[in-house]
């Protein structure tokens, strides 16, 4: 049952859910000029900026790890963090401490599994997207007035093709709830999943060219609330690739054959669908009885 959209508090109050990529496989091998420590410091200053822009703004931080995802920080919770450690403000020290605990937990979970190839360097983006959407639904239910939610993905790991279906499900659900998914991609090649996510949900996708100035990109593009975005010239999507990839070779194709039962995509004409086993051109009962006959004969 779709809930009626409740009224946002005011035009410029936002709820920002930030998904931080902490995947150690990416950060240890990334050859760019940004290491994880610098990345986190840029992000922390950005979070502080959001909080200072309006008293009613809310932030939630979720970490995307290699083996698990978890909530790091929720600004609406009353945590007793009046004083920070040393010179750092309370927000920074709290988030840093929670991030450290999360990375340790992520590592411990990874140690249990053996035989993981280094090639599988993707993070669990679908998990953190799902958690973010559940939290946003809770905010919609919370009362008649609420801040305008949006999701910001700070991702560097490459796309994991095994997560395609889950990420698309999350994207369509975000589209229905009218929650834009923005992305600031700090990895090497563009992420097709996140480009599609931003395009479908009406968000902004940015791949910064100069990673040393990451904070500048974050502050100028992503700090602004949704209402004011209509007055700004934001980076436009250039060439989102919506072509499909065939199931047999994983190459992108622009013309292919689609199985009418399970919608798997093939580049060449086959007699039998490898995903669902349906025989093409014959009614299913005939095909099943053919198989039975062959089995009983042999």
């Amino acid at each position: 049952m779709a809930t009626l959209p409740s009224k946002p508090i005011a035009d410029d109050v936002s709820l920002l859910v930030v998904l931080i990529d902490t995947n150690p496989f990416f950060w240890s091998t990334s050859s760019s000029s940004l290491n994880f420590h610098q990345f986190v410091s840029h992000v922390l200053v950005f979070l502080d900026l959001i909080v200072r822009l309006s008293q009613l703004n809310q932030i939630v931080v979720i970490a995307t790890g290699h083996n698990t995802c978890d909530y790091i920080y929720d600004s609406s919770l009353d945590t007793d963090q009046v004083t920070g450690e040393g010179e750092l403000p309370a927000l920074y020290s709290f988030v840093l401490q929670r991030l450290e605990e999360f990375v340790d937990k992520d590592e411990k979970l990874g140690a249990k599994q053996e035989g993981l190839s280094e090639k599988r360097a993707s993070s669990l983006l679908s998990g953190s997207l799902s958690m973010a959407l559940c939290y946003i639904q809770r905010v919609f239910r919370s009362g008649p007035l609420h801040p305008q939610p949006r999701i910001l993905c700070l991702q560097g790991s490459p796309d994991g093709s095994e997560q395609y279906v889950s990420i698309m499900n999350a994207i369509f659900s975000a589209q229905r709830s009218m929650v834009p998914i923005d992305c600031c991609y700090v990895g090497s090649h563009n992420s097709a999943f996140l480009q599609q996510a931003s395009y479908i949900t009406g968000g902004v996708y940015v791949k910064p060219q100069h990673l040393e100035g990451l904070y500048q990109y974050l502050a100028t593009v992503f700090a602004v609330d949704l209402h004011s975005r209509s007055f700004l010239q934001l980076p436009r999507p250039a060439g989102v690739d919506f072509r499909a990839s065939c199931f047999c070779h994983k190459t992108t194709i622009d013309m292919g054959y689609v199985c009418s039962v399970c919608l798997s995509i093939f580049c060449k004409h086959h007699d039998k669908c490898s995903t669902c086993g349906s025989v093409f051109g014959k009614a299913q009962l005939d095909a099943a009885s053919d198989r039975k006959r062959k089995a009983s004969e042999s």
Partner: protein, 424 residues
């Protein structure tokens, strides 16, 4: 209150026998006071103040019942879902549609909800097509051809809203049969009839028409707005569809939207086929071309057919010049959750939650406390069978109805050996 809710949960039509059995002197509204006594459901707490009635638990149990019946039906036998559907919606605009028992009139209510249904249908089934048929003055007319664009159907329906004359079920079925006969063999043929009248004026033998529809593998479903009729029930039983009668506007909307997700389809209804489809690229920014749908020059946004290089404005569509079906990969991806559904969560009683050894009793998805507000006792919640995480009732509903991903399962790294998704 309880009796009518139970009736809704079971989806039964209102039995007209009941009125004869009980006292004729009382009207239905009087009977709600004598039989149902809603004031007895109120409770007071220790200080004598009224406690709010918890609708959440009732709503959640209704939802669980619905989910269970759906998953039982699909798990019982290897029934696949018909993803490429050709649906004809038949709207009865006879004199009975002008009745005002649905405010402002049955016709207005039908039009409003059919619009919402069409949008929801194309949202869930992007590769399918809808055609509209109306019955007026005893004759069935085709309002729109089978097509994939929601705006065209909605515009056509809103213009032609006037009711008069008799209703003819046989004429409608004949027209729908002729329309759906021409579609390719891999498509699933469905008919949805929104019937307000209590009679049908037919030129011939309707039983023959019903048999003809059954042989043509048309799955006919009916939603009645007045009372249950034998001929509709027979039609639905013969063709394998569902027959429901709406009790009020909210119930009608619910019944109508139940037809939006793909129904379980028996394998012999449609032949599996490989359909040739094109995945066009977006035209370059600033390029000028004459688009094939509006026949005028357009700049920039549009798609180029990979076979004949014609420009089209929106997807999914069929190229006007070479006939190739053009889709984008998100359109196919919209239907993947029907193929890989998540299992329903198990209900966890408050007692079980208290006994469990979870450190913090919060919902895994939204981090809301699972304890009943104001007390320290655990409230009811749900748990996933695979990842064993706990979720609150609202997240349970959201995950199964909209998101189709379990956050707990997605936040786990499964080893490649364990992760094999087979579809047969």
């Amino acid at each position: 209150m309880n009796n009518s809710e139970k009736k809704r949960m079971n989806g039964e039509a209102e039995e007209e026998n009941e009125e004869d059995v009980e006292d004729e002197g009382r009207d239905a509204w009087e009977r709600t006071y004598t039989d149902e006594r809603s004031w007895e459901a109120l409770e007071e707490d220790e200080s004598g103040l009224l406690q709010p009635i918890d609708n959440k638990a009732i709503y959640h149990s209704q939802y669980r019942r619905r989910l269970q019946s759906l998953s039982a039906a699909s798990a019982a036998s290897r029934i696949q879902k018909g993803l490429i559907r050709f649906l004809c919606v038949v709207v009865d605009l006879s004199k009975a549609a002008g009745e005002m028992d649905f405010k402002p009139s049955r016709m207005a209510v039908i039009a409003k909800h059919v619009e919402a249904f069409i949008r929801e249908f194309f949202d869930q089934n992007p590769l399918s097509q809808i055609g509209l048929v109306i019955i007026k003055d005893g004759v069935a007319q085709s309002l729109t051809e089978l097509g994939g664009s929601p705006e065209a159907h909605i515009k056509a329906l809103m213009v032609k809203l006037g009711c008069s004359g008799d209703s003819s079920l046989q004429n409608a079925l004949e027209l729908v049969h002729d329309t759906l006969h021409k579609i390719p063999s891999y498509g699933h043929r469905e008919v949805l009839i929104l019937y307000s009248a209590l009679s049908t004026c037919d030129p011939g033998d309707i039983m023959e028409t019903i048999q003809k529809c059954k042989k043509a593998k048309l799955r006919c479903s009916v939603i009645g707005l007045s009372a249950e009729m034998f001929v509709c029930k027979h039609l639905c039983q013969e063709t394998g569809g569902s027959y429901m009668v709406a009790l009020d506007e909210g119930h009608f909307k619910e019944l109508l939207l139940e037809h939006a997700p793909p129904p379980p389809a028996l394998a012999e209804f449609a032949i599996a086929n490989l359909i040739k489809m094109g995945f066009p690229q977006r035209a370059a920014e600033g390029s000028i071309a004459i688009c094939s749908c509006h026949r005028e020059a357009k700049v920039g946004e549009g798609y180029i057919c990979p076979r004949c290089k014609a420009r089209v404005c929106e997807l999914p569509t069929e190229c006007r010049f070479c006939g190739l079906t053009l889709v984008s990969s998100p359109h196919l991806a919209r239907s993947y959750h029907h193929l890989f559904p998540i299992e329903p969560f198990t209900e966890v009683s408050a007692r079980q939650l208290e006994l469990s050894r979870v450190a913090s009793k919060t919902c895994f998805g939204c981090r809301e406390s699972l304890l009943t507000p104001g007390t320290n006792k655990a409230g009811p919640c749900a748990a996933c069978t695979k990842c064993k995480q706990y979720f609150c009732l609202d997240c349970d509903i959201y995950i199964h109805e909209s998101l189709h991903n379990c956050p707990g399962c997605e936040s786990r790294r499964i080893t490649p050996a364990a992760a094999s998704v087979t579809m047969s």
